[in-house]
């Protein structure tokens, strides 16, 4: 059985947002919302400071809180694992957004439905990789079948210690991270976060 997943190596992410832009272009994601973005987290005290770049997206959880929460059955799981939203069945009650510990779901007013990353199901169905994976200049994202021991993602996951974002949520994410500097918990402080300071004043 195929179980699609993504492995993100934080050693090689340079925070360029090529993934975010590619995703925006692929899905025409509205202003202010993201299916895929990069958190910048500063750590330490001057002069011992560092900055982590942490790409985040829907974790396509095995035990998906959004899927269990949706009262209209609009959220379903594809055979190969990704969790998707049927736009026609969504009535925007937003329980999925409240249940998701990763802030991975947003409202698209134009479509009149909640939206989220689908691992680019329309691309993977044609044998392509997700747009964010293709766009990444450093190849920090590896996409494939986690249950196929010969796949690149399974081999890389086997060769490196991996972790997930918010393991305490108990959602069994299918997005894995190689995180040698233990940066992921830094974006877990005070719950779901977004860096609104990244917006420029427009001058």
């Amino acid at each position: 059985m195929t179980r699609l997943g993504m492995l993100i190596d934080l050693n090689t992410c340079i925070g360029c947002h090529a993934c975010s832009v590619a995703c925006k272009a692929e899905f025409d994601v509205p202003l202010g919302a993201f299916r895929d973005t990069v958190h910048y987290v500063e750590d330490g005290t001057y002069p011992q400071v560092t900055r982590h770049f942490i790409p985040v997206l829907c974790n396509q959880c095995t035990d998906a809180p959004c899927l269990n929460a949706c009262p209209t059955g609009a959220i379903t799981r594809l055979d190969d694992g990704p969790v998707v939203i049927e736009e026609g069945d969504c009535n925007l009650n937003r329980f999925c957004m409240s249940a998701c510990p990763y802030d991975a779901i947003y409202i698209d007013d134009d479509k009149g439905a909640a939206q989220k990353c689908t691992f680019c199901a329309h691309r993977t169905a044609n044998g392509q990789e997700p747009a964010c994976v293709t766009a990444c200049p450093t190849g920090c994202r590896v996409f494939g079948d986690l249950d196929d021991p010969d796949s690149a993602i399974a081999r890389k996951a086997a060769a490196n210690p991996t972790t997930v974002w918010k393991p305490e949520a108990g959602t069994s994410p299918n997005v894995l991270y190689i995180d040698p500097r233990n940066a992921l918990p830094l974006i877990a402080v005070n719950g779901v976060q977004v860096d609104t300071g990244a917006d420029l004043a427009g001058q």
Partner: protein, 306 residues
């Protein structure tokens, strides 16, 4: 380390109001059942409670529809059965079922009243219609009443199930949350009963319920205080809960906790009820403050810690 601002909550003021108000019809039904079993005038109260519950349930349904970004698809909450693990899906169907049961119960009560009034030639029927023949039949009416009670009890607890599945309401994930939603629902129902009993003219036949409602309020307030105490004692060790406790006791919501819940919601009504046991004005005042306190607890369970 840079601590970034948290994202906006997906649910706003209308849903907060929904989770506060949805306790009232449940509490009313349970309190009306208790009063009807123990006091003759309880049958009269049951009629008013049924009408009020029906009105409030329609109001909360309207709140949900207005809050939806896509209200034209509200019906999906009722017609889709493919995800009954969703508490909201179950809750919406429960509200619909309870509304339907209330309609049947109200129809039966009003028919009782018409028949009783025709028999006595009076326009004021102080028995609430109880005791007369009904087209529902003696067997069907207890079934409707039983289902109504079961739905009311479930709806009293269901906000805990919904909010415990969210990241924005950590207090609802605690062991005492369901008990607090139940106790506040009962307090809201008892407070509504207190206001009705205190405000209704004598000819409505509710005055006999003054002492029972007062006693009920005092007992429920004591139970509620104990539930709050053990909820507080149980919130230790988890960083999110510690933060929520700090928010409640010395943070942004401290005024709501100390003034709204402790002073206005528990201490004031208890003091007024004990100081003036026969006063209907005191009962009305205690009922108002009790309702404010219970509503504040439900709001805090929804809002604190997200």
């Amino acid at each position: 380390m840079t601590v970034l601002p948290t994202v906006d909550r997906p649910w706003g003021a209308l849903v907060a109001a929904y989770f506060v108000i949805i306790g009232l019809p449940s509490g009313l039904a349970l309190v009306a059942w208790w009063l009807a079993r123990r006091h003759r005038a309880g049958a009269v109260f049951d009629r008013y409670a049924s009408w009020l519950s029906f009105a409030v349930l329609n109001l909360v349904g309207l709140l949900l529809v207005v809050d939806l970004g896509r209200p034209s698809r509200f019906f999906l909450m009722l017609t889709r059965f493919d995800n009954l693990s969703s508490p909201i899906a179950v809750g919406a169907k429960l509200i619909a079922v309870k509304t339907g049961l209330l309609l049947v119960a109200i129809w039966a009560v009003e028919r009782h009243r018409r028949l009783a009034a025709a028999a006595t030639g009076s326009t004021i029927v102080t028995t609430g219609g109880a005791g007369g023949p009904t087209r529902l039949g003696d067997a069907a009416e207890p079934v409707v009443r039983g289902l109504l009670l079961a739905a009311s009890f479930a709806l009293a607890l269901y906000p805990a199930a919904v909010l415990s599945r969210t990241w924005s309401s950590p207090l609802a994930q605690t062991s005492g949350a369901a008990l607090l939603f139940l106790s506040t629902a009962l307090l809201l129902g008892a407070a509504a009963a207190g206001l009705l009993v205190a405000a209704a003219p004598a000819r409505f036949g509710l005055a006999a319920l003054t002492a029972p409602v007062r006693s009920l309020l005092l007992v429920l307030l004591a139970g509620h205080a104990v539930a709050l105490l053990f909820q507080a004692l149980g919130m230790r060790g988890d960083p999110r809960l510690d933060a929520a406790v700090a928010d409640l006791t010395v943070g942004a919501h401290a005024w709501a906790w100390w003034a709204g819940v402790v002073a206005v919601g528990i201490a004031a009504p208890a003091a007024v009820l004990l100081a003036a046991p026969r006063s209907r004005v005191a009962l009305a005042a205690a009922a108002l403050t009790t309702a404010a306190g219970a509503g504040t607890v439900r709001y805090l369970l929804f809002a604190v810690g997200g």
